[in-house]
Amino acid sequence: TAPLNVLLIIVDDLRPSLGCYGDKLVRSPNIDQLASHSLLFQNAFAQQAVCAPSRVSFLTGRRPDTTRLYDFHSYWRVHAGNFSTIPQYFKENGYVTMSVGKVFHPGISSNYSDDSPYSWSIPPYHPSSEKYENAKVRMRDPASPSLVPLLKERQPGVFVCFSPKEFQKLYPLENMTLAPDPQVPAGLPSVAYNPWMDIRQREDVQALNLSVPYGPIPVDFQRKIRQSYFASVSYLDTQVGHLLSALDDFQLANSTIVAFVSDHGWALGEHGEWAKYSNFDVTTRVPLMFYVPGKTAPLPEAGEKLFPYIDPFDSVLELTEPGRQVTDLVELLSLSPTLSGLAGLQVPPRCPIPSFHVERCREGQSLVKHFRFQDLEEDPYFRG
């Protein structure tokens, strides 16, 4: 009957290239393990495929047309309406809320404060290595430790570091596939095309002298970009593994909801596009899963580890049993009412139109109905 903790893991730029989403190439054993204990949404979509608008949208539960944030240059509370956020709602309901790393997009879009103090009980924590996020690095080598003076930084219970280059070894270039449709489709309207200008500005991409806006990237270089992306995914997986393993260590796995999401997808050569910035499914489709103790998986027994760390470098990785899955289309916008409902808080009412004057309401649906499993309800162990 005690309130459940909530651990919300928000990954930047992660498309569902994960084992639990059927990807045979990518090594993501720790996220797959989380999925095996979770309810996984196969068809979840972001509302706008770029960081700040997407994050503000799902953290406030409003569409970009309501937050009026389509770029990076305004703060919704001033620019659109004083909308509440997910962490703010929990904070106002007695939770201690904490932010580590990039939850809100930094800068004016979160008032240069990660929306503190509205959303957070203590000041948000940022690793000092974050300032290297946009440091001068090559496109196909975003993970070189030699470029990062501070590889690790510790805060009690927090472990953050850059993605080491060694993870590229998991993806030999000779095994690297290309996008199945690397050409710009003939019938694609020019307005729909994303010319991936930020990628073109990377030093090593500039050296390729690509024609703008449609010039394709040479095939060998495409393989290297894909190799680096997948290496980053596996690195991220180890960080998620350490984090979830800590839940076990602190015996919190039986009292913590874990939600795992990304802010949007990423094109890896599909339709001749790279990065995000479009309406294609590859840039809007995101991983979305919820672990709810005793609901999506049995409560761990005393001493049992639900999330033991798995090393993606282990030569033989056991196949993880998939967990429960939902194929219905859902929106990232649903995160806010769903977390509220799962935690036992009152789900905010649907927003009127317009809703600029309403501090707390939801434009998305609660997904809680998907967590009613008939077989579990009939299972005396789960009922207990």
Partner: protein
């Protein structure tokens, strides 16, 4: 209820053709907004005129459209929008 299995997305553009700020246009430069609706069967997108001063999209000012059917074209490479013109989607499915 068809609205229960629909996902909407949108993306702004400064112009009809790709240019240096097409990826991340500032609000003042947004001229076109692409609104998408997705179902399990298709994605339908209309790129319409957008006024950044009053934040209003003009659905009478259609710049371009996209229509992809999941069953026959899961990767979204064959835009069927021009083949579908004159056959409006049900109004209940519009954003």
């Amino acid at each position: 209820n068809p609205r229960e299995s629909i996902a909407y997305s949108q993306y702004p553009r400064p112009a009809d053709s790709p240019q240096w700020n097409s990826d991340k246009p500032s609000l003042k430069d947004i001229k076109v907004m692409g609104y998408s609706i997705r179902t399990i069967d298709y994605r339908y997108t209309v790129w319409v005129g957008f006024n950044p001063h009053d934040f209003l999209a003009n659905f009478s000012d259609v710049h371009a459209g996209e229509l992809y059917f999941v069953g026959s074209d899961p990767l979204q490479d064959h835009n069927m929008y021009n083949d579908s013109q004159g056959r409006d989607l049900p109004r209940s499915l519009m954003p």
